[in-house]
């Protein structure tokens, strides 16, 4: 088992972006996404891109990590671009490819939609690269707190998230162990027809599920023994802290948003 295994994509670094409160980052990403959907002019896109690029530079995360984070999405961005290129049939004909006319409006639309996608993914990748999963969980819990009055199980959801995070490495280790144990009994995961391979996967999944249930039962017992009774009278050890840095970044973001709407017409 790889000991350096890290959950999620978090890259530990000492940077102002890392130091920001997870709530600040979450709120900014949320509004950034909203604003991006209303972007129409080139200059407004430029502003949004500048903001994301500044964030990426200040975070001191190596650009390769960001590119890696974007990797699964490149295909979708390119596909959307090509689809829009061919489906849009407005404006002047720019040129023809294999007898198929490409319109100038189509090029513009394709560029807009794919850069929108690009910016969204860039921003959210930046969030997960600079924030630990557990602080994102905490931020979600505190930001959704008002929904508790609607009887929504916010605390339970957050606890489920944090327990899942804690048990991911455990279950990966277990999967590793079970697959080796089953392989030593002659089960072949790698070759054969897909139906045989599917069957082999069951030999891995069933023991894994049984042990996960056993773990859940043990954990519930241990939690109860330590006085866990849901949200009742509970305080929190981990704390999120707004600093003056958060205030500055918020102000900066508001200026960006105002600038955005100014140039967006």
């Amino acid at each position: 088992m790889n000991q350096s295994f890290i959950i999620g994509q978090y890259v530990p670094k000492e940077s102002p972006v890392h130091a920001l409160d997870a709530r600040t980052k979450l709120i900014i990403v949320f509004f950034y996404v909203l604003v991006t959907f209303s972007a129409e002019t080139l200059s407004s896109y430029l502003i949004l891109f500048l903001f994301a690029a500044c964030g990426a530079i200040v975070s001191r995360v190596h650009p390769l990590f960001i590119v890696k984070g974007l990797r699964p999405i490149w295909f979708i961005i390119i596909l959307t671009f090509i689809l829009h290129l061919f489906i849009q049939r407005q404006g002047e004909v720019l040129f023809t490819v294999f007898g198929y006319a490409i319109y100038d409006q189509a090029v513009i639309q394709a560029a807009i939609i794919s850069s929108r996608l690009f910016l969204l993914i860039l921003m959210t990748t930046l969030l997960t690269l600079t924030t630990t999963p557990i602080s994102i969980t905490d931020a979600v819990e505190t930001l959704l707190k008002p929904l508790k009055s609607l009887k929504l199980p916010i605390h339970e959801l957050a606890l489920m998230m944090s327990i899942s995070l804690r048990f991911i490495p455990t279950l990966i280790e277990e999967t590793d162990k079970i697959s080796k144990a089953q392989a030593s009994r002659g089960i072949d995961f790698q070759t054969g027809r897909w139906r045989d391979r599917l069957k082999a996967i069951f030999a891995l999944l069933i023991p894994l599920f049984i042990s996960a249930f056993k773990r859940a039962e043990d954990l519930a017992m241990a939690m109860e023994a330590r006085g866990y009774r849901g949200d009742y009278g509970r305080t929190k050890f981990r704390e999120l802290k707004f600093t003056s840095l958060d205030l500055i970044v918020f102000l900066l973001f508001i200026i960006i948003v105002i600038g955005f709407f100014y140039f967006n017409g």
Binding site: I134, R166, P169, A225, F237
Partner: protein, 275 residues
Amino acid sequence: MIEFNKVSYSYDKNRGNAVDELSLFIEQNEWIALIGHNGSGKSTVAKLMNGLLLPTEGNVSVSGLPLSEDTYWDIRKKVGMVFQNPENQFVGTTVMDDVAFGLENLGFPREEMVKRVASALKEVDMYAFKDQAPNRLSGGQKQRVAIAGILAIMPEVIIFDEASTMLDPNGKKELLETIKGLRKIKKMTIVYITHDLSEAAYADRIIVMNEGKQWMSGKPREVFQYRDELSEIGLEIPLISSIYSGMNKHGVKLEKEPLHMKELVDQLWKLSSKM
């Protein structure tokens, strides 16, 4: 400290009682080893001590407080429990978070938590690992973190429910050394459940369970004299005791029955000495 008065518990009415009209009394600051083979009811007794189970018949009380549906939350503050599987009782994503879990449940203010987490981790000598994730720790270290999580709440009793069973020999030693160290610096009652008689030897008193009943109770030295009877109910005599009785049979008389390797060795090298 802990009192059982004719306590019975059954998981399934058709299969008889797991604990059967058990009466016992544990003094304050006593280190009790609760031993018995699998299915003797010892783990059930542990769960009855902190209200994870409520007795079907009879009464349990902890420092004068009778256990019932209304009081088991208070009793859990007095009785902490370390379980068998070190992995499955680790709730937090880091060592510090896990130690704080019990304090969070009881609603301690944050400043108090920070202080208590630090001092509890220092007591089990795990402070250097405070930011580590559980998958970087050994089994013995995880059990020490579990102990710290209980110490932080400052209970009166700690129950170890077969806490050493899944540990390697080093981990077992680590666990027992931690308990011994704690007993030196603070007063607390310890209930140590095991089926390993050599670990039970460290206790002040051993209670032997068989078929849901108390089969015997006494100082380790007294209990170990009933070798044949103990192995009849499925308990294996520690090596040291077997050596002692074997030597006895062959006419080599030692001063007194040794409990640990060191005692045996000390007596052996003095045996033929005339000084």
